[in-house]
């Protein structure tokens, strides 16, 4: 990680420049630029199919890009020589469908990667896992299997599982979209706690109230470009672009 040495925490922790991404002939991202500072909470909003999820999946190299550059802590993500595993140790991700491992208990789900990937001491990891379970307010569910939990509970386990790797950045891909309305809040509260602890969070979300309350910066994407961006108050109260206004009028 020699490229890392030039990066200092006052520079953007994630720097996205002119990113292009296509699936076959269909261009999903048409030149995206974004700079995210350490500790910032970023919300990406926009109509479905506008490339939001694709964009954040490019940040941890689950998707590749055809042009432009994404740098995480100064390291180019789409450098063919990049050690993807090193990148993913720093960037945690939570998915819409939770994607917990159904054959493992809550505690095992959380402990697995630190023990297997980071080769950490099992007893230490277990201690950390137990405190994470409490942190996401699931104390007592340590030995439950994912199938025995509600969607909201599973999603909080997924957040804890990702946090157990002690990432620098967390990606949230529409994490409340598959949840019942009454469980959405418990997940959002967990994310809010994280944000208050200073974690860098990048969220794709449809929760406008949450975005307004928690985000430091909002990006609005449509058809593969960033149409408008700004701090939440400016963005929600005085949007300039017609597309943004139309979208906000439909959703709010």
């Amino acid at each position: 990680m020699t490229a890392n040495s030039t990066w200092t925490p006052d520079q953007p922790i994630v720097s996205i420049k002119n990113v292009q991404k296509s699936f076959g002939d269909f261009q999903v991202l048409k030149g995206i630029d974004m700079d995210i500072q350490k500790g910032e909470v970023i919300c990406i909003i926009g109509p479905s199919g506008s490339g939001k999820s694709t964009l954040i999946r490019c940040i941890n190299a689950l998707n590749d890009i055809q042009g432009g550059s994404i740098k995480v802590e100064g390291q180019e993500v789409h450098d063919p020589d990049l050690d993807k595993l090193e990148l993913r140790k720093k960037v945690g991700m939570v998915f819409q469908q939770y994607n917990l491992f159904p054959h493992k208990t809550v505690l095992q789900n959380i402990m697995m990667a630190p023990v297997l990937v980071l080769k950490e001491n099992k007893a230490e990891v277990e201690e950390r896992a137990r405190s994470l379970v409490k942190k996401v307010r699931l104390g007592g569910k340590e030995d439950a299997y994912p199938g025995e939990l509600s969607g909201g509970q599973q999603q909080r386990v997924a957040i804890a599982r990702s946090l157990a790797m002690r990432p620098d950045i967390m990606l949230f891909d529409e994490v409340t979209a598959a949840l019942d309305p009454e469980t959405v809040k418990e997940v959002l509260v967990t994310i809010k706690d994280l944000a208050e602890d200073g974690m860098t969070c990048i969220l794709v979300t449809h929760e406008m109230g949450f975005a307004r309350e928690v985000a430091d910066h909002i990006y609005f994407t449509d058809r593969g470009v960033i149409v408008e961006h700004g701090p939440p108050n400016t963005f929600f109260d005085s949007a300039k672009d017609e597309r943004t206004k139309l979208f906000l009028s439909q959703i709010l």
């Binding site: 689950l62 469908q97 297997l116 990702s162």
Partner: protein, 290 residues
């Protein structure tokens, strides 16, 4: 007429696609065998007991098929049928280990390896078993010296290897299919936690496929067991071969053919029937859970 054919373009008018091929059921044997009622083995035993008596009553030569079968049965079971079981176990062991390796090879990211394993699977799945047996029989030497150690390959060992080949290929397909049936989101979750492909495969994907693989795996065991008499053609002294010898020892009386071979048939049936029932039961139990 034009209006009529235009109407047919609306998919909603044709909810059932009658042209579609019937989907392939990999468990035909267990399904047909295992769905027989539980009294079937007893009925078969009864027929086996009564049949020789009918034969006895109808023959003028005074042959006693029951007596002959009674004398030979312990020998046929202990020296013959148990050997078939041994062959089936060894083939299953080789087939499972080989099938797992080749099956994982089929989903490797290394292209030449993937093609090789795909080729091996297709070749052995789609070849007549007897031809494979003959090839192994003739291709393998009787003894092989490696680094001063001489290994002997008696006919029955060669038969085990030959019979394993189609099992390897079919279990390879079971493994490939089971891994493919795990949602790709599980791979993504493992990847995003910085797991390597190997870690994801062995810790996340395979443990979830394991239950799904058991019923078709047992189904292939039943098929394999029924195929073990094939090796008699190669001179291996298993149950069918010994039965023929027993009949010869009883002066080749034609009255003995049906009772003796019928007895062998029932041995296989009684052994495979519970396996098929268990296979179906496990299939039902595992089907509900993802």
């Amino acid at each position: 007429m034009t209006t009529h054919s235009n109407q047919n373009r609306f998919a909603v008018l044709k909810p059932i696609d009658t042209t579609r091929r019937m989907s392939y059921d990999p468990m035909t044997l267990s399904r047909s065998l295992g769905s027989l009622p539980v009294w079937t083995p007893f009925a078969a035993l009864a027929v086996a007991a009564i049949w020789p008596q009918i034969v006895y009553a109808q023959t003028a030569t005074g042959v006693d098929p029951i007596g002959a079968l009674w004398r030979w049965a312990p020998f046929l079971i202990t020296k013959g049928f148990l050997f078939n079981i041994l062959i089936s176990f060894l083939c299953l062991l080789l087939g499972t280990l080989g099938g797992l390796a080749i099956g994982l090879g089929q989903i490797s990211h290394v292209k030449p390896l993937r093609w090789l394993c795909w080729g091996i699977t297709q070749l052995f799945r789609n070849s007549p078993w007897l031809v494979l047996l003959f090839i192994v029989m003739l291709a393998l030497p009787f003894e092989l010296t490696i680094f001063g150690n001489t290994f002997f390959f008696p006919a029955w060992i060669k038969a085990v290897i030959g019979l394993s080949l189609p099992i390897i290929a079919n279990i390879s397909e079971i493994v490939r299919g089971a891994v493919a049936s795990v949602p790709t989101t599980q791979w993504e979750a493992a990847e995003s936690l910085a797991m390597t492909r190997r870690q994801a495969m062995w810790r996340i994907i395979l443990p979830q496929c394991f239950k799904r693989m058991i019923p078709p795996w047992m189904n292939w065991y039943a098929i394999l067991t029924m195929a073990t008499p094939l090796v008699s053609i190669l001179g291996v002294e298993e149950v069918v071969n010994l039965t023929r010898q027993a009949i010869e020892a009883e002066d080749n009386l034609p009255e003995l053919l049906a009772p003796f071979y019928g007895f062998v048939l029932i041995l296989f049936f009684i052994y495979c029937y519970p396996i098929a029932r268990l296979t179906l039961r496990l299939e039902r139990r595992f089907a509900v859970k993802l």
